[in-house]
């Protein structure tokens, strides 16, 4: 009982920290700031998925976290790479 209540609270706080990151995305003045927030949403998302895997008793969500972590790195590369036509 204590565990499930505490998990609900931690989940709430983690979503809240994600919301803070989102504020930066929306306020973000430069492309790099938005990149940072996408990264934060990625790692925060992994955290939320892991907590949900406990509270919803759905261990498959760990696989989702794994794929999210892998693709976050691809996204970071896609956001920062420039085409060869720029010289």
């Amino acid at each position: 009982m204590l565990t499930s209540g505490a998990l609900a609270l931690t989940l709430l706080l983690l979503v809240l920290s994600l919301l803070l990151g989102l504020v930066r995305v929306l306020k973000g003045s430069s492309l790099e700031d938005r990149l940072l927030s996408v990264l934060l949403l990625g790692s925060g998302g992994v955290g939320i998925l892991l907590l949900l895997s406990l509270s919803m008793q759905l261990t498959a969500l760990i696989d989702v976290a794994l794929v999210l972590a892998l693709l976050a790195a691809v996204t970071a590369a896609a956001l920062t790479r420039r085409g060869s036509e720029h010289g």
């Binding site: 989702v64 999210l68 892998l70 790195a73 590369a77 896609a78």
Partner: protein, 325 residues
């Protein structure tokens, strides 16, 4: 009190989804809009997890947050440097669209409220779940996709194939990317093998747990995208005369094998795609493997934005500047 605790995260998530969606579509800066769309995909993946749809959460993590973002970012390169902003709609038309959207919103919200406040009636889903034992797999979503509604999935693979044929017909691929520096190179060296491994794992696990051909195909395509982004122009796709043939066979393998299996079981006196129960597990894995490779090849080609060099022997678009008038 405990009710509020369990409710608040969902409320926050829903509010964040709407806020991000709003910001994505209302931004006038395309780069910002695409970055926001990627963040939107990440959140959506959490929403699928929350709605007990781990199959979708997997697909969204690979497709929505990963590949769509990469596709859109690559397309930003096509925009002319200082493109003239096309003229918007006249004011009265904008007001009309706003009014239409608002009334549609009210109508839809009312319909959902009316239908969803009542307890859920018996749906097709129960029939699907009760027949699960005879489907050859134990993941209900995979059973629906590759057994009960295999027709839909076959046609969906046709859609993917048609779309990628459109992409390669419309033009040549974009120029590649700059050579990777040491940091990106070391990232590629561990990330690409892991993506390929993860694709294999998702394909295999799809029979009994969340996963399957779509998630695996998207993850495999991400490996190719990563190679391309790091300046390796071939991006792991086969090259040369023989390579072109291999690529074409791979692209059509999903549809082809699906059809072959469907027709094959007809030879044993059953209906089209009515697998014999004893064989269905193996046949589904066979079809899913081919579909994974086909989807991965299609998405990898889509990321390039057109046909690779040497796709056809005499390419009419080879040098657009020397085209005859």
């Amino acid at each position: 009190m405990s009710g509020l605790f369990t409710w608040l995260p969902d409320l926050l998530l829903a509010a964040m989804l709407v806020g991000l969606g709003w910001a994505t579509v209302s931004s006038t800066d395309l780069r910002r809009s695409v970055a926001l769309f990627i963040a939107f995909g990440l959140l959506l993946s959490i929403a699928w997890a929350r709605l007990r749809a781990p199959d979708l959460a997997l697909a969204e993590a690979a497709l929505g947050a990963g590949l769509s973002g990469a596709l859109l970012l690559a397309a930003l390169r096509d925009e002319p440097p200082a493109g003239a902003v096309p003229e918007g709609l006249p004011r009265w038309l904008r007001t009309l669209v706003d009014l239409l959207a608002a009334s549609l919103a009210l109508a839809l919200a009312w319909v959902l409220w009316e239908t969803l406040s009542e307890p859920a009636p018996a749906r097709l889903g129960e029939a699907a779940l009760s027949a699960l034992e005879r489907s050859g797999v134990s993941n209900p979503v995979t059973a629906v996709l590759l057994n009960y509604r295999a027709y839909d999935t076959l046609l969906e693979l046709v859609v993917v194939l048609t779309a990628v044929l459109g992409v390669v017909t419309l033009g040549r691929e974009r120029p590649g990317y700059r050579r990777a520096g040491p940091v990106l190179y070391s990232l590629v060296r561990w990330l690409v093998p892991l993506l390929i491994l993860a694709a294999g794992y998702l394909l295999w696990i799809g029979a009994q747990a969340p996963g399957g051909a779509f998630q695996a195909g998207a993850t495999l395509a991400a490996a190719s995208v990563m190679l391309r982004l790091s300046g390796i122009d071939s991006a792991g796709l086969p090259n040369g005369l023989a390579g072109r043939l291999v690529l074409r066979v791979t692209l059509s393998a999903g549809v082809g094998l699906f059809l072959l299996v469907g027709l094959g079981v007809m030879g044993t006196g059953r209906g089209f795609l009515h697998y014999p129960p004893a064989w269905s597990g193996g046949l589904i894995l066979l079809i899913e493997t081919a579909a994974t490779l086909a989807i991965a090849a299609a998405l990898a080609l889509a990321f390039r934005g057109g046909r690779p060099a040497g796709w056809e022997a005499d390419d009419p678009d080879h040098s657009p500047r020397e085209r005859r008038p």
